[in-house]
């Protein structure tokens, strides 16, 4: 078998697809962590965009966050994995507890936070200079996990997102050659390959077509057995389809958080009712 020049470290396609020696079944259910947000305030410079959020995302459940544009839902999830502070001039105050550990505690290493709390972005962003295999392995290789263990995790991740059958013969090919839906599933595989506790998703389907969207929603349903999932969405039908509970935000405040069915059929707050019935936003 001739060597594919793009394949990871000169390994042939066949080597990359070879089943790992100790193919333990890592795909079973696994208890995730809950996330508790206490009095979270977030600022861009002088402007306050989150005005004291208190919310709990239960373990192994999917929580959707809905609300009109600009209400702060993206900012909220970016504060959970401390990506918010990467914006110049941005800061956050308050506590975000991963089970019982505050990710904003002074001695906490921010890269450890991000390894435990993964994020999938609105537009698929596979690394263009890396192959499919290297993309999924990116979080692993560059954090010190190599060799057989790395190969095993990559295979599991690709299987978990349903990409394995589609790409197993071209793991050395560039990630940019996939369709939008496949690229997003590749990004999800990349995120879960490092085995985080929580997966944050910021409007993961808004750049995809309806069929790709449906496949990812099915994937989210499967993933919650192993992770705690928070999904920001502007699509209320999507929230109704995938989420155990839904939170409604408006102008930087949390208005209501309830089981999804209740939010949409019997909302308690008048503003929630006006939003879910389409009267604004």
């Amino acid at each position: 078998m001739e060597l594919d020049p793009i394949a990871s470290r000169g390994e042939s396609q066949r080597d990359l697809a070879r089943a790992p020696a100790d193919a333990a079944d890592g795909a079973g259910p696994r208890r995730g962590c809950s996330v508790t947000v206490e009095q979270l305030r977030a600022y861009y410079g002088e402007q306050q965009v989150l005005k004291g959020i208190d919310i709990t995302f239960p373990a192994n459940e999917v929580t959707a966050i809905i609300g009109p544009s600009g209400c702060g839902k993206s900012t909220l999830v970016r504060c959970i994995n401390r990506m918010h502070e990467e914006v110049p001039g941005a800061r956050a105050e308050g506590r975000v507890l991963l089970d019982t550990e505050d990710v904003y505690a002074p001695k906490v290493d921010v890269t450890a936070v991000r390894r435990a709390i993964g994020m999938v972005f609105q537009r698929p962003n596979p690394f263009p200079t890396m192959s499919i295999f290297d993309n999924v392995a990116a979080g692993l290789k560059l954090a010190g996990i190599r060799g057989e263990r790395m190969r095993q995790r990559v295979h599991e991740a690709l299987r978990a997102v349903g990409l394995w059958e589609e790409v197993k013969d071209r793991l050395g090919a560039s990630g940019a050659g996939l369709s939008g839906g496949q690229q997003q599933r590749l990004c999800i595989a990349r995120t879960i390959a490092v085995e985080p506790e929580v997966v944050l998703m910021d409007e993961p389907c808004s750049a995809l077509d309806p069929i790709a969207t449906l496949r990812i929603e099915e994937l989210i349903d499967e993933l919650k057995a192993r992770y705690t999932i928070v999904i920001v969405t502007h699509n209320m039908q999507q929230a109704a389809r995938v989420a155990n509970s839904t939170a409604f935000m408006l102008d930087g405040e949390l208005i209501e958080h309830a089981p999804t069915n209740d939010i949409f059929t019997t909302p308690r707050d008048e503003r929630t009712e006006r939003y879910v019935t389409g009267k604004f936003g």
Binding site: V113, R123, F127, P128, T129
Partner: protein, 297 residues
């Protein structure tokens, strides 16, 4: 039917003054086309005249032999070619890594004001006349000591640095923010994100910038007049501690000589130089296209 029919109005009738505006439009198009043609014509004029005047003296000997001893015919500019290559190599080895590091600093780590100040400083450095750079290096290194390839290389490096740095800055800023975010969100440290994600993505553009920097300093004469112009014109020199023969200064020297065969050699050397610069520009352009298509999708 009562009353006169309303005067027939053609909705497509031209507005008053339309014909004049159309003529002005065509005139402006014509002027712009002539200007573009003029620019291309000047380039062709330069290239063709150097080609016509220089080609007769180009032969294998010219490119591979050192100058003949005084008074004799034949010989070539091999030592100048080698010397120029060494000078450009020294300059690039000194300036390109520093330039890329500066660009990484401003695009990844510096605050907006610091980045702006550095950009400004680089632009000013870019605008310093190269003869001033030559005098500066002369005063710093050569005065009181002697000319050398190191001095020439440093002078060229000072000129090459802002070119490569500014180009690298632009390219690094073109790398989409989303790629850096994806890397950071995976729990990677910043320098890892830069080294393994940002730099490889920008590689094509960085190479383009470096090649353009080389093309620019390949023909710089003024700084070399001060730092590497008094050299033995007959032997091959590869030791940078001595002044190194180089193509621009050789062209200058040959053109000052009374002998017509030296003049022909000067044209030929100019042809070699221009061919080198043209080749580099084409190479830079092909890298630029490749990196642009990669950044796009």
């Amino acid at each position: 039917m009562q009353g006169a029919a309303p005067a027939h109005r053609n909705p497509l009738a031209p507005a008053p003054g339309a014909r004049r505006r159309r003529l002005i439009n065509r005139a402006m198009e014509g002027v712009a086309t002539v200007a573009a043609a003029l620019a291309v014509a000047v380039l062709l004029l330069v290239v063709i005249s150097v080609l016509i005047k220089g080609l007769p003296a180009i032969n294998l000997d010219f490119l591979t032999k050192n100058p003949a001893p005084f008074g004799q015919r034949g010989g070539g500019i091999a030592n100048s070619i080698v010397g120029s290559a060494i000078l450009i190599g020294l300059a690039s080895a000194m300036s390109v890594p520093v330039a890329v590091l500066i660009a990484i600093f401003t695009s990844e780590f510096a605050g907006r004001r610091t980045a702006g100040a550095i950009r400004f400083a680089l632009d000013i450095l870019n605008g310093v006349p190269t003869i001033v750079t030559g005098v500066f290096v002369f005063g710093l290194i050569v005065y009181g000591a002697r000319q050398s390839g190191w001095a020439g290389g440093i002078a060229l490096a000072v000129i090459e640095l802002p070119i490569v740095a500014r180009s690298a800055q632009e390219v690094l800023e073109l790398v989409p923010r989303s790629l850096r975010e994806a890397g950071l969100a995976l729990g990677l440290r910043r320098w890892r994100v830069v080294l393994r994600i940002v730099l490889p993505t920008a590689a094509g553009g960085l190479i383009t910038g470096a090649v353009l920097g080389v093309a620019r300093v390949a023909g710089e004469t003024a700084p070399l007049l001060f730092t590497s112009s008094i050299f033995s014109n007959f032997g091959l020199t590869t030791n940078p501690a001595q002044a190194m023969p180089n193509i621009p200064v050789t062209i200058f020297g040959l053109s000052e000589s009374p002998s017509p065969s030296d003049h022909a050699a000067a044209w030929a050397a100019a042809l070699v130089l221009i061919a080198f610069v043209l080749l580099l520009s084409i190479v830079a352009r092909s890298f630029h296209e490749r990196s642009r298509s990669r950044l796009r999708g």
